[in-house]
């Protein structure tokens, strides 16, 4: 397979875009596309101060790398959650984040949950009896709270997270399965600033998880490869796997699922019940059946078209 830009050997093939690129052109393409999405969704400008939530994972470190390369003022925030799981999970992700910041001469803020509040996330989960024995709900809540607090306290204009399209599609899938209308109406690449809440943006929301992994590898970013020990068997991972099965059989399914949702939400028509009784129906001049299309109904139009070849 050849790179579409230079004809050299391709390093990645993105079936949903029918685009194969070599390493060099892929490393150019990802930041270019990120810039395009930042502008398309009006996330932030070069004059604004961005706080990037970095976890030591591939997505957030790649995001920090890309924003810095694009010339944005992006500092990092690492939340030390105190998760061990037998693999020093938090310590290792902290180490990798610190190393990335130092190697690239970037400013990193660190909040240690245990030092700040007296509890690591797993302990807080136990003592607060939230989350049915798993700390994921407490972790999500604490992260959202702390990211917002630091962004506001330190005067950042916007908080950026490394959510990729697979993350977004999995959330969308879950919310659709449960028809959680309120959550569906809130999901998007930008959550505008409101009273007490910093603006939140997801500049990587149009990239597949696979593409971000490829970017991190091609760029030589060392990230924490192990999953969070508590993530095993999680619903989000189950949804991601299901969507990847679908994507393998029907390339572009995840992208279409997410982008069509965004279009529907933006159009304002998501969940607005149409007044079916008073829809503008008129009898088809040919068959007499009610139709909303101008002139002939769709069936008669099809038959007419077939007759005329």
């Amino acid at each position: 397979m050849k790179c579409r830009k230079c004809g050299g050997k391709a390093s990645i093939n993105m079936r949903q875009h029918r685009l194969a690129l070599c390493k060099e052109h892929y490393l150019e393409w990802i930041p270019e596309q990120t810039e395009r999405f930042i502008k398309k969704y009006r996330m932030f400008t070069k004059d604004e101060k961005i706080l990037v939530a970095v976890s030591g994972g591939k997505d957030s470190l790649a995001l920090w790398d890309i924003l810095t390369r694009l010339g944005y003022q992006a500092d990092g925030l690492y939340l030390a959650l105190g998760i061990d799981g037998g693999i020093d999970y938090s310590d290792e992700s902290h180490r990798l984040t610190e190393e990335f910041a130092q190697a690239n001469n970037l400013k990193l803020h660190v909040v240690n949950m245990e030092q700040e509040y007296g509890y690591s996330i797993p302990t807080l989960s136990q003592v607060s009896h939230r989350g049915h024995g798993k700390p994921c709900a407490v972790c999500g809540l604490a992260k959202r709270h702390e990211m917002n607090r630091i962004a506001r306290d330190l005067g950042y204009d916007v908080l950026a997270t490394g959510h990729n399209l697979d993350d977004e599609a999995a959330v969308l899938f879950g919310n659709t399965l449960h028809w959680s209308a309120e959550y569906l109406l809130r999901q998007g690449p930008v959550l505008p600033e409101s009273d007490g809440l910093a603006r939140k943006v997801k500049p990587l929301c149009r990239f597949y998880e696979r593409e971000m992994t490829a970017y991190a590898i091609a760029r030589g970013i060392e990230y924490i490869y192990d999953e969070c020990p508590f993530a095993e068997g999680s619903q989000q991972i189950f949804y991601k796997e299901a969507l990847n099965q679908l994507e393998t059989a029907r390339p572009g399914s995840k992208l279409t699922f997410y982008t069509r949702f965004l279009e529907a939400r933006q159009s304002g028509n998501l969940f607005i019940e149409k007044d079916i009784e008073h829809a503008h129906l008129h009898p088809c001049p040919q068959c007499g059946q009610p139709t909303s299309t101008p002139d002939l109904c769709s069936f008669c139009r099809m038959v007419e078209k077939a007759k005329t070849g």
């Binding site: 990645i12 194969a20 390493k23 590898i217 796997e241």
Partner: protein, 66 residues
């Protein structure tokens, strides 16, 4: 005449001469869920596997870090 796929700590032996995509499918690995490298370089899944090839697969799915 075999090649080897390695995903996390698991190894899969496949016949050489087939494409990486076919090898992934035969090993019941969802192609969308991995990135493949050979000698540290990214490769696409139309690559024909050669005898003795060792392909390191990197799982792409993550669920939270910190």
């Amino acid at each position: 005449m075999t090649a080897k796929l390695i995903l996390r700590k698991k190894e899969y032996e496949v016949k050489s001469g087939m494409s990486l995509l076919d090898a992934l499918k035969k090993s019941n690995i969802v192609p969308e869920s991995v990135i493949a490298t050979r000698d540290g370089e990214l490769i696409t899944d139309d690559e024909i596997l050669k005898d003795g090839d060792v392909i390191k697969l990197i799982a792409v799915i993550s669920g939270g870090a910190g």
